[in-house]
């Protein structure tokens, strides 16, 4: 639970003042807490879904597939709704180029160069990029 299987940054202007491992751990812990908080507060249990949160400087978008795969995208604060983008990222990039790659073991780190290239192309083609 909670392993990062792929990480990539574009246009990140400031490095986090911590190791990447620590950052991933913090991210996971935070998302776990927000999710369980959202679950407790939800008037319709089972129907809640965390989609994004926003600070004055950035926005964190979140999508979780029913299989438990979590996609996290951090953008500038003025970005619009990225829900459909993350959905297509899941179905057109992750499923096509990671899951359907016979050499890829599900839930291990993704090392495929094709995946990296397609992901990069996908992100760069977004209007918001």
């Amino acid at each position: 639970m909670g392993d990062c299987i792929y990480y990539k940054q574009w246009n990140r202007t400031k490095d986090a003042a911590m190791s990447q491992d620590e950052e991933f751990k913090l991210m996971y812990g935070m998302l776990y807490s927000i999710k369980s908080f959202a679950k407790r507060l939800s008037p319709q249990p089972g129907k809640e879904a965390l989609r994004f949160f926003k600070t004055n400087q950035y926005k964190l978008h979140f999508y979780e597939a029913p299989t438990g795969l979590k996609l996290i995208l951090i953008t500038s604060a003025d970005a619009g709704d990225m829900d459909s983008t993350l959905r297509s990222l899941y179905s057109q990039i992750y499923v096509e180029y990671a899951v359907k790659n016979p050499k890829y073991t599900p839930s291990s780190e993704i090392t495929s160069e094709l995946f990296a290239a397609k992901l990069d192309q996908f992100i760069r083609s977004q209007a918001i990029f």
Partner: protein
């Protein structure tokens, strides 16, 4: 490119010639019959292969169908029968025979594209020819946090009147706890 795409290059990339598919599955089973000694071992092997297919197939299914998490096991059963089987095999088995606690159900197959040309030889009375499907369902549902047990209880190939698969929900796997090394 996936095998399915290669096979279906002409026309719709989702469509694969049904006979070719049945023959490929047939040769797979035949090879297992040669490699393993008992019917039980063959069944286990088929189930295992199916499991490995299932844990990937579910992602493709979710990506294409866009269904959200089911609220209960009854909905899951319907999605498996009406969307899952439809999408990958073009059939819609009937969901029936619910147990009282709502944890067991049966899928009845009117036709099974895997065994279009199949006749079980007399020395393999317990071979569950389509056992791969059980594995697929187990693998796919495990990925969406449901542990199930799945087996064919009747098979027309074994001389029964219908083909029936029994699916039993063992447990719903809860989202993991906070990792203990998290500070």
């Amino acid at each position: 490119m996936s095998l399915m795409n290669v096979l279906g290059r002409a026309g719709d990339s989702r469509k694969v010639n049904g006979e070719l598919f049945a023959f490929m599955y047939g040769s797979l089973v035949t090879q297992l019959v040669i490699d393993y000694e008992t019917d039980e071992a063959i069944n286990t092997q088929l189930e295992k292969m199916g499991y490995n297919i299932g844990i990937r197939l579910i992602e493709d299914f979710l990506a294409r169908s866009g269904v959200a998490r089911c609220v209960d096991f009854r909905e899951t059963a319907d999605v498996v029968a009406k969307l899952g089987f439809k999408q990958f095999l073009g059939i819609q088995p009937a969901v029936t025979n619910w147990s009282n606690d709502g944890k067991d159900f049966s899928l009845i197959f009117d036709n099974n594209p895997l065994c279009d040309f199949v006749e079980l030889p007399a020395d393999h009375p317990n071979l569950s020819y389509s056992n791969l499907l059980c594995g697929v369902i187990r693998g796919a549902l495990e990925m969406v946090q449901m542990k199930v047990e799945c087996k064919f209880v009747q098979d027309v190939l074994q001389g029964h009147t219908t083909t029936e698969m029994r699916v039993r929900l063992l447990e719903i796997i809860d989202e993991g706890e906070l990792p203990s090394n998290n500070t």
